[in-house]
Symmetry: C2
């Protein structure tokens, strides 16, 4: 029941200039567009002051509130586009004049139907998803799909192949063991998950129901640049794309199933996107919980029970933003640029920083690195946090550092990190 | 990166007076309190204008934005407390100065840990949950629990008892058939789900692993006022409380498991709360998907994989608000008052409106009713929507009307509905 007008005064303490602008010019009213300007960032920290005169100044409302953003290198949930957050903020209380928050809408009402349908249409446009694939918005994360995939595609006695290039692929393999005869055809474990094998040397089982890969290993920073051709009878390749989903173009027609938790590149946690070739739907094992049966969700357009509505809405805003940026070809260019300067800094540090991953399969999304002097790692993380760069600590299972630089991490964030790394090295080499 | 100050000018076109106030006085800065004023509502529609003078007026920002709320009688997702939405709006972009949205936080970071721990602590306080119960924040809705309950409590050959008082109890029973020997010990289907039997007449199986009820049937408006004593060997009562969770005090110690989708009384969709006696954890069937295994979630404090962080945050805000209102004793009083005036209007309409449910078990949450002249129902719904009362159409399986009047539906909303019903009757009797 409140009407708001926002103003923004950016004041850089290192310069006497001030910048005053209103980033809300085209979002205060209901709008499909997210093309408004993203505030620019610099390596300098900004002091932000807001000065607004209101008609009644008798209240105790504070005149300013720091809204400094950090650069958040978390592996997921992860940083989201600022303009998407601003749009969500502007619509949270009353979505486009309907008198409700998206969080309050019946999932069967016309408002939410328009949201989920647009989200699907935009995702289809982004990934050029063929008509013969269903798009499902589900819950439970990739971990739920680790069970759903074999439960839907296999009988208990069916063999399946897993190519294991990191912890997530290994977890997927282990979960599948409950529901079919899952088999590891290659594992990078002995090399501490730093490689992807030549596809020629893989011994695929021709009787396998599918070949499973994890397209990008979030913890180990290993990413498939090409995909193996499944040699099983039905030519089914299944990919967990949680941590590189929508980070680059993908030929969906090469896959039987693509699944991804949203919380890396396309939204908040709580939404799992499943893209599945329709002819693979409808053969779930009798012991499949109804919520893991793709047929139920496909027949009901992801509305069998109440979906995670607000998360789907947020994903929709991100899809819209990715399209507005020019689609995944443009996104991939940006991601390559960011990864390039970070890996270059590591490789040119003379061993001060090290990335253990084979250069040919280094992830554009998750960049793990260690310090030659490992006793400096805690100091590195502490100093970075002081500079408003957070969540750089590596996964507890591998140690060291990890910078996750998903779609929404601006180039400025990576530039700031790289500058910091060089400075840190100069001071500690 | 924007700093905001909000002002609110309420102008009632039916009166010449204007009200100017700032509802943000104690939320613009990080705060644990949600005790700020909720804007009052009246039956008159309000014209809302915002006038804010900012230093730079050269932008094209609109000077006003309608933020009229509707009264939303949806069965779920459902209306949320206005002050909770306002608090969420104020914190969306930058949670309490940490430089991130809650949607961007690592679920293992200190910020989110503080959120989920406070949510659990507040829920424990609200429901006085004994120490020997675990509280889990999961995904997948009650429908996922329909499978998880038998998978965790039974072997495939174990018998279990279901007392079926509506569609949801029936769905729970059917899903359990996949995983154990589920048996309906009583069904209200022949009476179109309008009754709950005397507990004395129930023929419980002493060998059953548990007795399952749906504490409030959302579609049929049938609510348990007392609970049956389980006569099975282990004395385990399991309740789906999705649609009356936290609407009144409950003696948790009477239950083995209570589960509830959040999207009725305590938050947005995408979060399921499970309260389970700890000794029941740890016996899942081998075919249990890891995400349905209570042991995994209990051992990891609901952080085995990425939880639905933003939804949990929203639930936390609602729990905080319920405590601030005086807890569930006070909430129940408010809910009884709202239900009372609505049922009274139906019962005193001389048959113009009818509620088919036995008076002794009428739900305080979901009030289904029909019109004697059923051809007027479409007109009723249309006119109500014009008056900004939405989602009054009954579930497609039962027809008629349904007013869901959960915790967050203000008394003013029910008063407005009742006044409308009387007026509608006067015009159409």
């Amino acid at each position: 029941m409140a009407a708001t007008v926002h103003s923004l005064l950016l004041q850089n303490p290192n310069h006497s200039s001030t910048i005053l602008k209103n980033p809300y010019s085209n979002i205060a009213f209901p709008s499909q567009s997210v093309n408004f300007m993203t505030p620019t960032r610099s390596n300098k920290s900004l002091c932000i002051t807001c000065t607004t005169q209101v008609q009644d100044l008798s209240t105790t409302a504070p005149a300013s509130q720091s809204q400094d953003r950090v650069f958040n290198f978390a592996a997921g949930p992860a940083t989201l586009p600022e303009n998407v957050l601003k749009k969500a903020e502007s619509e949270l209380y009353n979505w486009r004049g309907c008198g409700m928050s998206v969080m309050e809408m019946s999932h069967r009402g016309k408002e939410f139907l328009s949201i989920i349908q647009k989200a699907e249409a935009d995702l289809r446009a982004l990934l050029n998803i063929p008509e013969e694939y269903a798009v499902l918005f589900l819950q439970g994360g990739a971990t739920t799909q680790f069970a759903a995939v074999p439960l839907n595609l296999c009988k208990p006695e069916d063999p399946v192949d897993y190519l294991v290039t990191g912890s997530w692929g290994d977890k997927a393999f282990k979960e599948a063991q409950k529901f079919c005869k899952s088999n590891v055809i290659w594992s990078g474990k002995s090399d501490k998950y730093t490689k992807i094998p030549s596809f020629d040397e893989l011994e695929q089982n021709p009787d396998a129901k599918y070949l499973h890969i994890c397209a990008n290993e979030t913890i180990h920073g290993v990413e498939f640049k090409e995909y193996p051709t499944p040699k099983n009878k039905d030519r089914i390749l299944v990919a967990d794309m949680s941590s590189n989903f929508c980070s680059k173009p993908v030929d969906v027609s090469k896959f039987g199933i693509i699944y991804a938790g949203a919380q890396k590149n396309v939204g908040p946690s709580g939404v799992t996107v499943v893209i599945i070739r329709k002819d693979l739907i409808g053969n779930a094992q009798p012991i499949t919980p109804v919520m893991l049966d793709y047929k139920i969700h496909a027949e009901n357009n992801s509305l069998y029970n109440t979906p995670p509505c607000y998360g789907i809405y947020m994903c929709g805003l991100v899809f819209e933003d990715l399209l507005a940026q020019g689609g995944l070809v443009e996104i991939e260019k940006k991601n390559k640029k960011k990864a390039e300067i970070l890996y270059q800094t590591i490789d040119e540090s003379g061993g001060f920083y090290r990335c253990p991953v084979d250069k040919s399969v280094r992830s554009l999304m998750n960049v793990p690195f260690t310090l030659e002097k490992s006793d400096l790692e805690a100091e590195f993380i502490k100093e970075a946090a002081k500079e408003k760069m957070v969540q750089l600590k590596g996964h507890r299972s591998v140690g060291g550092m990890r910078a996750s630089i998903y779609n929404a991490m601006p180039l400025a964030g990576v530039e700031k990190l790289v500058a910091f790394m060089k400075d840190f090295q100069a001071r500690h080499a």
